[in-house]
Assembly symmetry: C2
């Protein structure tokens, strides 16, 4: 029955490296667990501001730990993540507003699934969180989108659409939804099981999520593990 | 060979509920993994101050999430944790300085292991994080210690010892060691493997810790799981 299938909404922003880890794990498990994954591009800076939360990296010991933690997790999760040479510039000065508007415009346009949203998001993460490249300029976003398989003309149209009021409002509304779910950071996972929404923050609750939705966690690489 | 055995130092304070979860998991795994666990009672408020970190619960959405997260984790970890009716009073106004000095005095006095340190710590956590009882008064600490199996005369002696300069300095020095390891919160786990120290924060990295020390993670209840 279609309505017995569980749904996991995944609120994310490509500014967030922990979101990338969670995204890849979820993209792997969507083919293994009995779940529908709904990618929900949103704007992390808006969630931080709306909830009054502060970026964790502002405490020096925490920043150093996070860099180490991300390095270890990237190896264990097999996600090629590297901290940019100037993370504060990349995350806070340049930011990801235009990139996330582009992903939102793509999601609005894509029909029959979210394969392109998945691929473009991955290419944007790869630029900022693996290759230390810009994603704040239209040319940078275009490069990522073309690499993800979009045509140059589609990209041009999406760049235009992404500055429209409709798309700005859609991103705002997704961000507000994350706040309404009690969000204060990303990734935010909203699991809909038996008509109830269970909200999880971060990429370190998958074992608990599996337990809550009645599925099995076998580590970050389910196809390599014995199921 | 004695020197091939891995060592995990566990820095904690009974003010921290996530430390309780990590503590119980580690107490279970110390009988399963090829590791020596060294309990390191320390003072969380000192680590927060020394690292410039702020308690996470000050952001309203984060506080609400943590309460939910702790509830779910306590069920999954099978640790009978309940958030006190006034967590801010229990954690910040009353605090745990005298309780952690008592545990430090006990560790200084105990010979042949740390079974009593383990049991008294558990009783203190049970009071503050399960039964919503005070642990800031000498009478409260005594009750916990007697419940853990200590004699009334031993408790009296330890209460006296716990206000000595020697014990105050020992707790300060453990707290400083946690800071020197890059700590900014508890629990802090320092894994010594092949002459190298790997530092982990929180109770949600056990799967990664197992991977790093070459052991197997089978969930929070290893004796119930198939190994």
């Amino acid at each position: 029955m279609a309505n017995s299938r569980k749904v996991i909404e995944f609120f994310y922003d490509v500014v967030s490296p922990y979101s990338w880890l969670g995204f890849e794990v979820l993209c792997r498990y969507r083919n293994v667990w009995n779940v529908d994954v709904k990618l929900r591009p949103a704007f992390l800076a808006g969630v931080m501001q709306g909830s009054g939360n502060k970026p964790p990296g502002l405490t020096p010991n925490k920043f150093l730990y996070m860099a180490k933690d991300l390095h270890r997790l990237s190896q264990y999760f097999q996600v090629p993540l590297n901290v940019p040479s100037n993370p504060f510039e990349a995350m806070f000065e340049k930011g990801t507003l235009s990139a996330m508007r582009f992903v939102t415009a793509l999601q609005e346009s894509e029909v029959g699934g979210d394969k392109q949203v998945e691929q473009v998001s991955r290419e944007l993460w790869t630029r900022i969180w693996s290759l230390d490249k810009d994603i704040s300029q239209p040319g940078s976003v275009s490069e990522a989108a073309v690499k993800a398989g979009l045509s140059a003309s589609d990209v041009e149209e999406l760049l235009k659409l992404s500055t429209s009021k409709q798309i700005k409002d859609k991103l705002k509304s997704a961000t507000q939804e994350a706040l309404d779910h009690g969000g204060f950071g990303f990734p935010l996972l909203v699991c809909h099981v038996n008509g109830k929404a269970e909200v999880f923050f971060g990429s370190d609750r998958f074992e608990l999520i599996a337990h809550c939705i009645g599925e099995k966690w076998v580590g970050p690489q389910p196809t390599a593990a014995k199921l």
